[in-house]
């Protein structure tokens, strides 16, 4: 008679593997974490926080974002209210250069070290890149030395080189979800096309910012798959969004991710990505409310977007800054990112 194999607790394994050695969890291990019962969430978050403190430190990276070009996008990302393919109430809009400069200034005044310029496009055309170049120049002429990131869709090598030349230090391009789930979310381009852009960004020396959205109908298995696919990319930053079911989009009636499930996801992603900047992004207000945001910050998250998002509103920046003060988490200074 052979003895049954001993059940090894995934958090005990993670304590040794992730906390002590800095090695992220495998797909199977992440899935185990995502299946933990609610009564083990505090233990998970405590471990995820310890991992973040050990491998990233206590500082929190604060970022503001703004939409330079809103709406009218030709792509059909099913979560997005800016797609021109759905009957969303979001209308097209362009932010002018003075508006961009003002948004960058307001972001810097919060103590943020990052300012991300975003456009709802498949990829940038010459007009958009020219607007970005002029905008960055105007931000610098305003005496603002905040780090500039961009999110302008899929890029060619020439466009990557142009952004490097403009001084863009980080580029956001989300894979959004697991490779196996992506065709259910987007049909106008592929996961692999996004991956290719990310590889070009990395090769050009820009920092890679790549995350996604939780709650788009993916299974727990696909959520675990996504976490390890991100880990394989080794991004500098992973923004973690929770679906906001926006009117007119195919996902408008999807349920909001419940707080406990979201916290489990935060903890699991931290254990898969011990050294990455893990950023709270869109949807946290709906999913967590005020209390949960604090739990997330004590559960592995070490970066936040303050203020509003692209088409949705966020909490007032001061509320988040007060929360960081209360948690005794220092804001990463701009000087330390340069």
């Amino acid at each position: 008679m052979t003895a049954a194999p001993e059940q090894v607790d995934v958090l005990a394994v993670a304590r040794e593997q992730v906390l002590e050695q800095g090695v992220g969890l495998s797909e199977e291990q992440v899935l185990e974490v995502l299946r933990l019962p609610d009564d083990r969430i505090p233990e998970l978050l405590e471990l995820a926080h310890a991992v973040r403190m050990r491998w990233c430190g206590p500082e929190v990276e604060v970022e503001g974002i703004v939409s330079l070009k809103t709406g009218g996008c030709p792509e059909d990302c099913h979560f997005c209210s800016q797609s021109g393919q759905f009957p969303s109430p979001v209308r097209s809009a362009w932010l002018d250069i003075p508006g961009l400069v003002k948004a960058a200034r307001q972001t810097a005044e919060t103590g943020a070290s990052e300012f991300c310029i975003v456009a709802a496009v498949r990829g940038p055309d010459k007009r958009l890149l020219s607007q970005v170049r002029d905008g960055i120049k105007a931000i610098r002429e305003d005496g603002n030395d905040i780090q500039i990131a961009c999110s302008l869709g899929m890029l060619t090598q020439e466009q990557v080189d142009e952004l490097v030349d403009m001084g863009v230090h980080r580029y956001n391009h989300n894979l959004e979800t697991a490779r196996s789930h992506f065709p259910n979310v987007v049909t106008t381009h592929s996961w692999e096309e996004r991956w290719d852009t990310l590889k070009m960004i990395r090769a050009a020396g820009m920092e890679v910012c790549c995350g996604g959205i939780i709650g788009m109908g993916e299974t727990l298995e696909q959520r675990a798959e996504f976490a390890v696919q991100l880990a394989e990319l080794e991004p500098d930053e992973v923004p973690l969004n929770f679906l906001i079911p926006n009117p007119g989009t195919p996902y408008e009636n999807y349920p909001v991710v419940e707080g406990p499930e979201a916290l489990r996801t935060v903890g699991a992603f931290r254990l898969a990505l011990p050294r990455t900047i893990l950023r709270f992004a869109g949807g946290r207000e709906l999913t967590f409310g005020d209390l949960g945001a604090k739990q997330g910050m004590l559960g592995g998250v070490n970066a936040i977007i303050v203020g509003n998002y692209l088409t949705n509103l966020g909490r007032p920046a001061q509320d988040d800054l007060d929360m960081l003060t209360e948690l005794a988490m220092p804001i990463k200074e701009l000087s330390k990112t340069l």
Partner: protein
């Protein structure tokens, strides 16, 4: 005078707008003009928003 919901664009006096109210001003700026229900051009920035109706002008979070 008829007024319209800034979230769904339907008449305020008709139907239940409690779900709209839970989002409007919390995570959504107004998208429809309260006076005529036209879709507005909305620009969200880190610290506020503006919403412009082609007929009734601009409103903003600063108002």
């Amino acid at each position: 005078m008829v007024t319209y919901c800034g979230f769904c664009g339907k008449e305020r006096a008709e139907g239940d707008h409690s779900a709209c109210a839970s989002r409007l001003g919390v995570i959504d700026p107004p998208r429809f003009c309260a006076e005529c229900a036209r879709r507005m051009v909305v620009q969200v920035t880190p610290s506020g928003w503006t919403a412009a109706c082609s007929r009734h002008g601009e409103i903003s979070s600063a108002r």
